[in-house]
Symmetry: C2
Subunit: 221 residues, 2 copies
């Protein structure tokens, strides 16, 4: 028996456009990470940590997706890296077409492109943008049951970052339980525990990202 997976037409055309974006980013040897999380999970603070660590060695572009406003873009610009803002107006996620509109503004080869998606644990997971992979952030105050309740993003994310570990003493968040639930959705996902506030846990993640940047650079040769 043959099985046909029917996708909504909007997702099919999005996927095609995402492939074209991906070809562009591959051509300029950029590692593109699509960062997805709930509002307030700490996406911007996380990006700031990554930027601060790598900015003197690698060229970095941050693409900021927000419904409205430029608060995060302004915060990241202060770190002296290139930032492009996408305001989605009523849309609750970035998609490949919005991302494609950014491409004509990219005038150099970036080693690392960090995309901060709109704060939403549901819809951004459905729309590829041309990324190498999705990185989901789960913050501890949200609770360790979120991988069960919002499974798609945890199913698709290659890397999951458990953020705000500094708050655990004040919460009922169970790290082994959370990890087990994440692995149930995606046994291959790599999980890192960090606090973007205190900086704890970032070393292993820096190493992970550095390896991936270097792998992309090797393609160049």
């Amino acid at each position: 028996m043959k099985k046909v997976n029917v996708l909504k037409p909007v997702l099919v055309s999005n996927q095609q456009r995402a492939k074209e974006n991906r070809r562009f980013f591959d051509k300029i040897h950029s590692l593109v990470i699509n960062i997805i999380a709930s509002p307030g999970a700490g996406k911007t603070s996380f990006i700031k940590k990554i930027v601060e660590h790598f900015k003197n060695r690698y060229s970095i572009l941050v693409i900021e997706g927000d419904i409205k406003g430029q608060i995060d873009s302004q915060a990241i610009s202060m770190l002296n890296v290139d930032v492009i803002q996408i305001n989605t107006a009523t849309e609750c996620h970035l998609d490949a077409f919005m991302t494609a509109q950014v491409i004509p503004q990219i005038e150099k080869e970036y080693d690392l492109v960090l995309v901060e998606n709109v704060g939403n644990l549901v819809c951004p997971a459905e729309f590829e943008i041309g990324e190498d992979y999705k990185l989901a952030i789960l913050s501890t105050p949200e609770g360790d049951d979120k991988p069960i309740k919002y499974p798609l993003v945890f199913h698709l994310a290659k890397v999951v970052v458990i953020n705000k570990t500094d708050l655990i003493p004040h919460l009922d968040f169970n790290i082994p339980q959370a990890k087990k639930r994440i692995k149930m959705e995606n046994p291959g996902s790599m999980i890192y525990e960090v606090s973007a506030k205190t900086g704890s846990g970032f070393e292993a993640l820096y190493e992970h990202i550095e390896k991936e940047i270097n792998a992309k650079q090797e393609d160049k040769d």
Copy 2:
């Protein structure tokens, strides 16, 4: 000059269906509150507090919106109130049509209907379901900038609950700043500060809801 506000067709038909739902709930004198928040902001814990306070005096129905699973429904059923689960599968919000599917299962007059929408600060705001009003929950770990970044829900919510006030000593959340930003989106909104964990701040909110339930009951006579 005349101004035409163009709505997406899906929103127009949703609005029509929401009006019909509203007529049904009005006929059975139910106060219907549509509860909207990010994942992990504390919607279920909030509902449990309200249910525990009112269940011996009023008849209560909880409608649970989740993408998948029944964790919250099960937790609320333990309190011995009626619960109806809606699983949205891929949809990131409840809409009037999903809510309409619940109506044939409603076999008595409920004084209070609490609807827990899917955890999402963006899309649920766009879709009326037939509610009396929207109640938004903003949890302190999300940050006090959320009303600026996700304005629609704060623009539309008649009541905003700032939850997890017990965590404030460990965060950079500024209550007056948050309130100012909520009021910028909706000067008429009523703001309550609570901790669903410790129970602090609920008295004023109970009073608010009780007045509204009584107003609905007066229509009956």
